[in-house]
Symmetry: C2
Subunit: 600 residues, 2 copies
């Protein structure tokens, strides 16, 4: 019997965090057909990755998913560093380091097992009803055709497999013809292997021991993240988790008597691991009754030479980069890979943007992978160099803190990131290429106070933020009017503003944040572009905000926070909230050129 043949715009291979994030983004583009397959019978049950950094939480918020994560997870509030006391030989606390949030930042790191993170994605996907994960489906063949000869040039043969990985009958064979595929299939990526993508190996495999248990212990910092260097008794890392669990890591050359290096789950038992952890925690006690998950696994520092080994094939997550679990980065960088990619695919497939924007994926994400390995190398070295003190570890963590939270990631110049903003001084604290910080604002229409970021849902829209200054001044008002007038006359800007159907929104929204007292302004007196009218749905009242400090709270800090000068400015935010361009209210032509360049 011939196999079933189906076509899809996008095929995602692998439903771990990177794949699920891709599916979630794809759900926002109803014009793009998407399938996601995973050879496993279902989601990760528990264990595995467990750290969600600040930027990842912002992204989850932009999908309306962060509350579920915050409810289930444990917040990381403080890190404690423990070293060896030279007199007693036991460990002692050397330092407490409180997790601080940067200006415009909103989340502390949250710890939650990967299974529950995946479940939150699955719940969200089910609620949207657009993309459904196909578990128990294994990709087995890959054929790439010329882009000219075939509209769906990527042919993936897949087979439905049982829970044991065994293939079923012959009629379980399907050929999926796709425009694009994303390989999110992990450290041993099948997709990567098919294309024989060169991999840069920065270190050989190291063996890690990890356990998630409910500890019974008198260690005073058992509910905090700790780095513990006990000298000859080995060194460990701990992190508090949901349901009274605590995660413990032992690491190569640092686990004292056990020395897991080169061994695996077949010759090291859970009790061996706990014994090794117990040794490192002396003089404190440690036992357990309940273990949620444990593993011994090998991992090396590796980075693919390109995230886009073929025009229609992308790699993301562990398929592109592997490293140690030391900095709690794995799930985060992986999810952020596909968060960077899929809105670009959605725009291209909807015909709104030129396919050339897809070049920016490798351009933007490969350097992040490279930086990740640099951090990891330094952190592993710091752990190995001094087994009795955690000073080195603390120094490396301090150096990379903005990278680790995701706040410091800045994409370089490209078609989607302007390299030559005319005057960077119009918004001194804002950097082109970085994600936009958030501050509380007051909505003009209803007086509700909320974070500006709450207006940046991941729905495919670009946002042009207009900061005119204080509208009670006549020159400010006239400069706003002249902006609006010019803005509406630009052909590309008009098209991007008025073409619905890309995602669930218009592809370009204008948002106004003025610095006048809210009650001094009547929304309907502002230019139409800030309250556009729809025949059926009336006016959009959600586009105007005030940076009005007169209502107390934490209000009135937007202009200061961004460092916006008196002349005001325009800020263009991409669908992934990264700042693409900054200019003055007069530079509408430069904005028009930006959109002209990325239009098909």
């Amino acid at each position: 019997m011939p196999p079933t043949v189906a076509t899809t715009d996008l095929l995602i291979i692998g439903a771990g965090p990177a794949g699920l994030m891709a599916a979630c983004w794809a759900s926002q583009y109803p014009n793009m057909t998407t399938r996601i397959i995973d050879k496993r019978p279902g989601r990760t049950p528990t264990g595995h990755a467990d750290g969600l950094q600040s930027r990842s939480l912002e992204i989850l918020e932009s999908y309306g998913m962060v509350d579920a994560i915050l409810q289930k997870g444990v917040q990381h509030a403080e890190m404690c560093y423990w070293g060896r006391n030279k007199c007693t030989g036991g460990i002692e606390r050397q330092k407490r380091s409180r997790a601080r949030m940067g200006d415009g930042e909103r989340y502390h790191m949250v710890l939650l097992n990967q299974g529950l993170v995946e479940q939150t994605f699955l719940d969200s996907l089910r609620g949207k009803g657009v993309v459904k994960v196909e578990y128990g489906v294994r990709a087995e063949t890959l054929v790439l055709k010329g882009e000219e000869e075939d509209e769906y040039p990527v042919e993936v043969g897949v087979r439905r497999v049982g829970a044991d990985g065994a293939s079923g009958a012959g009629d379980d064979w399907e050929v999926i013809r796709a425009r694009y595929i994303i390989g999110c299939d992990g450290a041993h990526s099948w997709t990567r292997e098919q294309l024989k993508v060169p991999v840069r190996v920065c270190s050989g495999d190291s063996t890690w021991g990890v356990v998630d248990i409910v500890p019974i212990s008198d260690f005073p910092d058992i509910r905090q993240s700790c780095a513990i260097h006990s000298g000859e008794n080995g060194s460990i890392m701990t992190a508090p988790r949901e349901n009274r669990l605590v995660r413990f890591y032992t690491y190569p050359k640092g686990d004292g008597k056990l020395n897991v290096e080169g061994r695996d789950q077949s010759d090291v038992s859970l009790d061996d691991l706990v014994e090794s952890i117990r040794n490192a925690m002396r003089p404190y006690q440690l036992t357990y009754k309940h273990c949620d998950w444990w593993s011994i696994y090998k991992i090396g520092q590796r980075l693919v030479e390109t995230y886009r080994p073929h025009g229609r094939v992308f790699l993301a997550g562990d398929a592109a980069h592997t490293h140690s679990p030391k900095a709690g980065q794995g799930m985060n960088v992986s999810m952020q890979d596909t968060y960077n990619l899929v809105w670009k695919l959605g725009s291209v497939i909807a015909g709104a943007a030129a396919p050339s924007i897809l070049d920016t994926y490798d351009l933007e994400r490969w350097p992040v992978g490279e930086e990740l390995l640099r951090l990891d190398t330094e952190l592993v070295e710091a752990y190995e160099q001094d087994v009795t003190s955690t000073e080195g570890v603390e120094r490396v963590r301090g150096k990379y803190v903005d990278f680790m939270t995701g706040m410091g990631i800045a994409y370089g110049p490209s078609a989607l990131i302007s390299g030559n903003s005319s005057d960077p001084s119009v918004a001194r604290n804002m950097k082109v290429g970085m994600r936009l910080a958030s501050y509380p604002v007051v909505a003009q229409a209803d007086g509700v106070c909320s974070q500006l970021a709450g207006r940046f849902a991941s729905n495919g829209a670009w946002r042009l933020l207009v900061f005119p200054g204080d509208l009670r001044q006549s020159h400010t008002q006239s400069s706003l009017e002249s902006f609006a007038d010019k803005f509406n006359k630009q052909p590309h800007l008009s098209r991007w503003q008025k073409t619905p159907g890309l995602g669930r929104c218009y592809p370009l929204e204008t948002i106004l944040v003025h610095s006048s007292p809210r009650t001094s302004i009547n929304l309907l007196d502002l230019p139409d572009t800030f309250h556009p009218f729809d025949e059926a749905w009336g006016r959009d009242y959600s586009r105007v905000f005030s940076d009005d400090g007169s209502d107390g709270g934490d209000l009135g800090h937007v202009y200061d926070g961004y460092g916006i000068q008196e002349m005001g400015c325009l800020v263009l935010c991409r669908p992934d909230q990264h700042v693409a361009w900054i200019g003055s209210l007069e530079e509408v032509e430069a904005l028009e050129e930006f959109f002209a360049r990325i239009s098909p």
Copy 2:
């Protein structure tokens, strides 16, 4: 064929907000079997009640449901009062009134149609999987037997009905034998009729017109709550809602030319209603394309003489009280009725508490119904007395603001509310009978900052809050130790602390909030009762908090907020977060007596 006969501890009749809240509470008591029936084919589709007040949101939070509501609903931030301009004859804004949150309060009112509120309850019930709403089931017969002769003295005959309300075949007949029933079956309550419960009629029926539309209008406050008195053109109320909807109410003797009084949906059209609203809003325009829901309905001010017409039968929600929609109270007081009741039923059925505590339901909730009608009467009068100005309305709203938010509701002395706290000055800003205010605290074990109220999940537990003061002082430490020592020796307190199985927790938890810097204290040095040990699950690290202001933010205000004096105090909170008793750290015997009195 004889009918099916089933038994259940609790039968809830009606799955509106009161019934669903009852089901949600009942889900927390796995030892109590519960059924909930509703004759409708499914939940309220849309429209109907739409206001959730501050206290209701706190309650939803305690079930983990508030995030879903906040995401879907619209926050009420400001109320605008519009009256008639004597010169122009049109309306003009007379006042803006910003919604303020009281000290220790955390939510602004949220507006969301009843259908989505019910859906949130249904989602939560499905997630718990304990109680499932049976739609399309109508109660038809009620037989009450003596409590001595039958363990299940309430017999309700129910019939499965089609979507049109028609009965099905004879085998759809079931007899449900229950220990207790709650009639949450609305203004025309079948349960109330069966028992011929006397009803106090405070006013005859008035007719209300209500529409939920997407308005197309130049009215500047269209996205805010407004009271509009236009003089001869009638008066209306407005409220912003989800999905660009706005709710408009017209009311009797205030709707200008239309005069809906005594009329119903058969002789007044939607366009008539909108025409009437348009008149009241002159000189502003109003049209619409989309209508979500509209209705004309009659309602009078009524209150049952008792909320417990029979030892085993309770009434709640509209079955107990009806009134105008003016103050946005309906859904709130109704949900709070069953929130007051079901934990008492759960404790009695689990054998933890004496059945006599059920007397407190009528004792506590009937006065709330009475106060509700008083507010409603004054508000209706204020609307009627001056049709050109809203001053009177504003005055009444100001007078009852604490009642309307739910913050001001204080239950009087009873078996569950102590009437004679020895020295009220130990916590000057706390009132026995009121719900406990919330402030941010720092968790001792992990340093996470959160609202103290986050620790008060609705799971059936009583909480004894221990406020010893600054534990760096030796007399404070010894007074805490002496408290713990005495506390553990009391037979009733020990039983309540150690009997699992009531709800999902122990029935009495001790929680410590000290005022020392967090890092000066080691949790394990505190008495065992604040970190109890469980063989399988280890220590409970979640019971100790610090009122430590040194970490900035809004911290360090708990002791001040509650007005706790240097000697410290004990505060007993019921499972519904109302303060049951306040005393000094020495008054452990008084606490023991409290629990002795309510024990079976």
